[in-house]
């Protein structure tokens, strides 16, 4: 299915990451958004508020993030592709409802424009310390998908990808952006609508009674929406394929096998990485988001100093690309994770790598992107 030309701002634009994400959402066919103002994400919903009435869509600013994160789910069941936008503190408030979206298999997109934490922290400055929160913040077991953009162009492209993934896997999908990327302006090239592929929601259209959580061949149940005449029940309680709460351990086991398997069995398909200069490298950097772009400079600096560094860029951060990273670990003496926190994706990398090689972290307290010199020093250390 191709994008609707009315919703695609075809052309070259000098836009910031946040505004680009909005245009990506529009192009992807998002027609519902519920949000709450929080720096540094506000530009996204402000642009949505302005554009939706022009191209079609409902935006409502709710009273807080708790309300936004569940209101958007109502929008999904009304039949819309829906999203919300927030930053660290707001994401913390959304946790209960992320679990709800996961267990009810409500496809939705959450954009986190990360800032420095913890708590109120540095609201106008960058950070990457929500990575674990996005994955584990809600209680219980569940899987999510998360992509990390490194430029305004990525914000446009990956937001479309997030919506497509949400529909494909019927799961919450995160765009883990950050303040630097969100407020950075670069040229964003938005193609013609017929060059943009979007995944449409697959509804059940059969004549048999609708079973909301009946596993299809690909493991993903078909969706319904309000008013289709299916009289479905959607609950956050453990449920069987009828959607009815059945509070027994066997049903829990079966439900969880399918819920976790949806993502876990498809890690290879979901994995997106980029390899830069790894072929002749001695040290491999692993990074994502804005830190990846800073690491590029550090890689140059290290090479000038005689250490051949290369980069594995993670575009998909969750599910963690275990196989790819472990393969890397087998072929390198050292892996260096570069991220703006005290170690979050680092522990994932270390978990799959440490039996094969040394692992290093070039972290930070957040607030500013890394000094490439610092990363370079870690690379040199790792090369010893």
């Amino acid at each position: 299915m191709k994008a609707d030309p009315k919703r695609v701002l075809t052309g070259s634009h000098f836009l910031n990451g946040n505004h680009s994400a909005t245009e990506g959402a529009l192009a992807a066919g998002c027609t519902f958004a519920a949000g709450y103002p929080i720096t540094p994400s506000t530009e996204i919903v402000e642009r949505i508020a302005s554009r939706f009435p022009q191209v079609g869509g409902v935006f409502i600013q709710m009273e807080d993030e708790i309300a936004s994160s569940i209101c958007l789910q109502g929008g999904v069941w009304a039949g819309h592709k829906s999203m919300t936008v927030t930053s660290g503190p707001g994401l913390s408030l959304m946790m209960e409802h992320i679990g709800l979206a996961a267990i009810t298999e409500t496809p939705c997109v959450l954009i986190d424009v990360q800032r420095t934490g913890p708590s109120t922290g540095l609201p106008t400055k960058t950070g990457q310390a929500d990575m674990m929160q996005a994955r584990w913040g809600s209680h219980g077991d569940y899987e999510i998908i998360a992509l990390a953009p490194s430029s305004p162009q990525d914000c446009f492209d990956f937001t479309i990808d997030c919506f497509n993934l949400a529909e494909e896997y019927r799961t919450p999908v995160f765009l883990m952006s950050d303040e630097s990327t969100g407020h950075m302006l670069e040229k964003v090239v938005i193609p013609e609508a017929d060059k943009i592929d979007i995944v449409e929601r697959k509804y059940y259209t059969g004549s048999e009674p609708y079973l909301p959580y009946k596993e299809e061949a690909n493991g993903i149940p078909l969706m319904s929406k309000a008013g289709m005449g299916h009289y479905y029940h959607i609950t956050g309680l453990t449920h069987d394929e009828r959607g009815y709460p059945v509070l027994t351990q066997p049903v829990q086991k079966q439900m969880m096998k399918r819920l976790m398997g949806k993502v876990n069995d498809n890690v290879d398909k979901l994995t997106r990485v980029e390899r830069i200069n790894l072929d002749d490298a001695d040290v491999a950097i692993v990074s994502y988001g804005i830190s990846y772009r800073i690491a590029l400079k550090a890689m140059e600096m290290a090479r000038e100093k005689g250490v051949k560094a290369g980069i594995l860029r993670l575009i998909t951060c969750w599910p963690f690309p275990e196989k790819v990273v472990e393969e890397l670990a087998k072929n390198f003496k050292s892996l260096v994770m570069v991220e703006q926190n005290f170690g979050q994706m680092y522990y994932e990398m270390d978990r799959v790598s440490n039996k094969h090689c040394n692992t290093f972290l070039c972290g930070s307290a957040g607030g500013d992107v890394h000094d490439p010199e610092e990363i370079c020093n870690t690379i040199l250390e790792a090369a010893k």
């Binding site: 070259s12 000098f14 609201p123 950075m184 670069e186």
Partner: protein
């Protein structure tokens, strides 16, 4: 041109960020080359420090940050003090002359240009266009983009109905620069 790096800094409310944005737009969209702009501001809507850095290049830009700009535009004393030390030798310093007192120890290889942008903006009638006056001046003395591209970028960046005021501000700043170069 290779890659050029410029930092614009001042106080929140002076329109420093918009000026940088227009410059980036001139290069990346009007001239269809490449520009990356990064920003820095505190929580205050007015009065706090505001700064942006713009990288202009004929090639795609990988590393997005500017540490040692070739050109520094300082529209407040604080901005001047904070950034003068990182300007590349042989670079350029452009200041708002009513708000910035220059120190005696500026690297002599740095060319200095000054403009009373706030006063000139008040003369045109609205203090709010001081950033467009400054932008015209910057384009004129640096030559980072052509006058035509610069002007087209202004037109693409302002609210409808404000063309007359903003283009007048651009002209004023640009001509002031032309005079200074003589």
């Amino acid at each position: 041109m290779e890659t050029s790096e410029i930092r614009l800094a001042g106080m929140g409310g002076q329109g420093v960020i918009l000026a940088g944005m227009i410059l980036g737009r001139a290069k990346s969209i009007i001239d269809n080359k490449f520009a990356t702009m990064t920003q820095d501001f505190g929580p205050e809507a007015r009065g706090g420090a505001a700064s942006c850095a713009v990288i202009l290049s004929d090639d795609p830009i990988l590393y997005p940050n500017v540490t040692n700009p070739h050109t520094l535009v300082a529209m407040s004393q604080e901005a001047f003090t904070k950034y003068i030390g990182v300007v590349k030798p042989g670079g350029m310093l452009i200041v708002e002359e009513d708000l910035v007192k220059l120190s005696d120890d500026i690297d002599p290889s740095i060319r200095v240009f000054t403009i009373p942008a706030t006063r000139l903006a008040e003369e045109i009638g609205r203090k709010i266009v001081l950033n467009i006056v400054m932008y015209g001046f910057i384009v004129s003395v640096t030559g980072l983009v052509s006058e035509e591209s610069a002007r087209k970028a202004v037109e693409a960046s302002i609210p409808k109905g404000t063309e007359k005021l903003n283009l007048a501000a651009f002209e004023k700043g640009y001509q002031y620069g032309v005079e200074q170069l003589k």
